[in-house]
Symmetry: C2
Subunit: 277 residues, 2 copies
C-alpha cells in the first residue's frame, strides 16, 4: 500500500506524508484512530486524519512543550497535563524532580493504543508512581478542580473534534484559576505560519489572563509547516528572561535531544509571517 495522508492548513497549502502500512485502524467514541508507518517518521499516531505524533520527531514537540515551562518555574512540584494521551509529554515532565503529575485524557483508547504501538514514546511513564491518569474531559476537570498546579501543559489536537474546546477563552480562564500564584501554562498553539489566526487567538486569550505571554517555536517536521508554535502564559516568571546558566543548571539531570540553553533563547525569536490568514 502506498497512500498519502494530506493536511490542508493554509489558504491553498497542504503537507502530505506517505503511508507505508497501517498497523491499527479503529474508531473510539471520540475519533478515528490509526497507527501507520512512514519510511522517515517511523510509526505515527493519526487522529481524524491528522498526524499527532511520530516516533522520529515526537521528541521535538514534547520537549519544547514541556521544558521551557518546567525550567522557567523555579520549583515546579505539581504539574497538570490536559490531553497528551500518547504519553510523550508525560515522559518529559517526569525527567524533572516533580512530586505529582495529573494527566487528563478524554479518550482511553488513545492511551491504550499508544502504549501498545508507540511504547518508545511513552515508555513506562504511565506506570510512574507520581502519575495520576484520569480518563475524562479536561475542560470539566479544570472547571471543577480545587487543586492548584505549578505548571499546566495543554497538549491538544487540532481545534476540531474533541480538541476544539481546548482553544476557548473559558478553558484557559479555568486553567488560570487552577494555577498557583506563580504558576505558568503552556499550550500548543498551531502551525506558526499557516494557522496564524489560531496562534493569535491563543495569544489573545492568554493575554487577558496573564501578565507575561510569549509565543515560541520548534521545528516539528511531521506537523504542517514544520515551524510549530507554543504559547506560554505566566503569572510571574518570564521565560524570555532566563539566563543560559540558569537553564543549564536545571538541565543537569534532564537528558534532552532538542532543548538546550541556546535553543530556549532562540525559540522566542520568531520570524515574521508573510501570510497572515
Amino acid at each position: 500500500m502506498k497512500e498519502w495522508i494530506s493536511d490542508i492548513v493554509g489558504l491553498g497549502y497542504a503537507q502530505s506524508i506517505q503511508i507505508d502500512s497501517i498497523l491499527y485502524d479503529g474508531r473510539s467514541a471520540f475519533q478515528h484512530i490509526q497507527i501507520a508507518t512512514n519510511p522517515a517518521f517511523g510509526r505515527m499516531l493519526i487522529l481524524d486524519d491528522a498526524v499527532q505524533t511520530t516516533e522520529a520527531d515526537e521528541f521535538a514537540y514534547h520537549e519544547m512543550l514541556v521544558h521551557p515551562a518546567l525550567v522557567t518555574h523555579p520549583h515546579p512540584l505539581r504539574v497538570l497535563i490536559i490531553g497528551g494521551g500518547d504519553g510523550g509529554t508525560l515522559e518529559e515532565v517526569l525527567k524533572h524532580p516533580v512530586e505529582h503529575v495529573t494527566i487528563v485524557e478524554i479518550d482511553r483508547e488513545v492511551v491504550e493504543i499508544s502504549r501498545k504501538f508507540l511504547s518508545s514514546i511513552c515508555d513506562r511513564a504511565f506506570d510512574d508512581r507520581r502519575v495520576r491518569l484520569l480518563i475524562e474531559d479536561g475542560i470539566e476537570f479544570v472547571r471543577r478542580t480545587q487543586e492548584r498546579f505549578d505548571v499546566i501543559l495543554v497538549d491538544s489536537t487540532d481545534p476540531k473534534g474533541p480538541g476544539a474546546a481546548l482553544f476557548a477563552a473559558e478553558f484557559f480562564a479555568a486553567c488560570a484559576r487552577a494555577l498557583t500564584d506563580d504558576g505558568l501554562l503552556v499550550a500548543q498553539s498551531g502551525s506558526y505560519i499557516f494557522q496564524a489566526n489560531l496562534t493569535e487567538r491563543v495569544v489573545g486569550h492568554l493575554g487577558a489572563l496573564f501578565p507575561e505571554v510569549a509565543t515560541y517555536w520548534a521545528a516539528v517536521p511531521a506537523y504542517p509547516g514544520v515551524v510549530w508554535s507554543f504559547t506560554a502564559g505566566s503569572k510571574r516568571h518570564d521565560p524570555r528572561t532566563l539566563a543560559a546558566q540558569q537553564i543549564a543548571r536545571r538541565l543537569q539531570s534532564v537528558p534532552t535531544r532538542y532543548y538546550t540553553p541556546p535553543i530556549h533563547t532562540a525559540a522566542f525569536v520568531l520570524p515574521p509571517r508573510p501570510i497572515d490568514k
Copy 2:
C-alpha cells in the same frame, strides 16, 4: 482551474501549493517556466515544477541570503550573484552602499519573465547603474574571471536541471578563488529538514575551502519544509560572532522586513534534525 503543484522532498514527504491561475507557461532553452497565482502566496515563479519564489515570501529568502553576509563583511564593495534571475537577491544587495554588483544568470527568459510578471520583487534593480547583468553559465564565469569579489551569493535552484552543477565542489572552489582575501560566500543549501544530505554536502565542500563555515536558517513558507538552510563560508569574518549593535549600525539605512539583529543571532541556532536522510 484548481490544481496543486507538489514537491516531494523527503522520504515520503511532500508539500503542495494550490494554483489558482497560470499567467505564463513556456519553455526556455534550459527549463519549463511558469508564473502562477495562489491565494496566500500571490504570484509565483515556478521552474521545472518547483516553486522558486513568491510575491508573499520572497523577502524572507532574499533578505536572509543577502544581509548576513553583507553585514558580516566590514566593507563590501564588489558583490557577485550567481543565478537569482528573478532579481530579488539583487534588490537586497543594492540596499547596501556597494559599488558594483555582477549578476550571472544562465537563462535570459527567467529575467525577462520576472521583470514582466514579478516587478514587485525585482522592482527597478536591474536598471541600477551599479549592476552588470551577464546572461551566461555562472560556473564558466567564476572559472574564468580574473576579478575579485568581497561577497559571492549563490542563488541557485534545486540541484537538478541547470542548477545541479552549482552544488559541486569544483564550483565552490572556483568561487573561493574569485573572492578577496577577506571575502565570504553564502549559498542556499536546501530544505534544512528534508534535504539534510544536500545541506551537509554544501557544508562539506565549503569546509574544505574556508576556515569559517556556518549554516543558518530562515522560515520560507513556499519552500518544502519551510525551515530553509543557507551556508556561509568565510575566509576571515565569522558571521556567528557579530554583536547586535554592530548589526543594528549596519542596518541603519537598510530597510528590512525579516532580517534584524535578534534574527541574525537566532538564525545560527539550528534545531536538531529528527530525520537524517
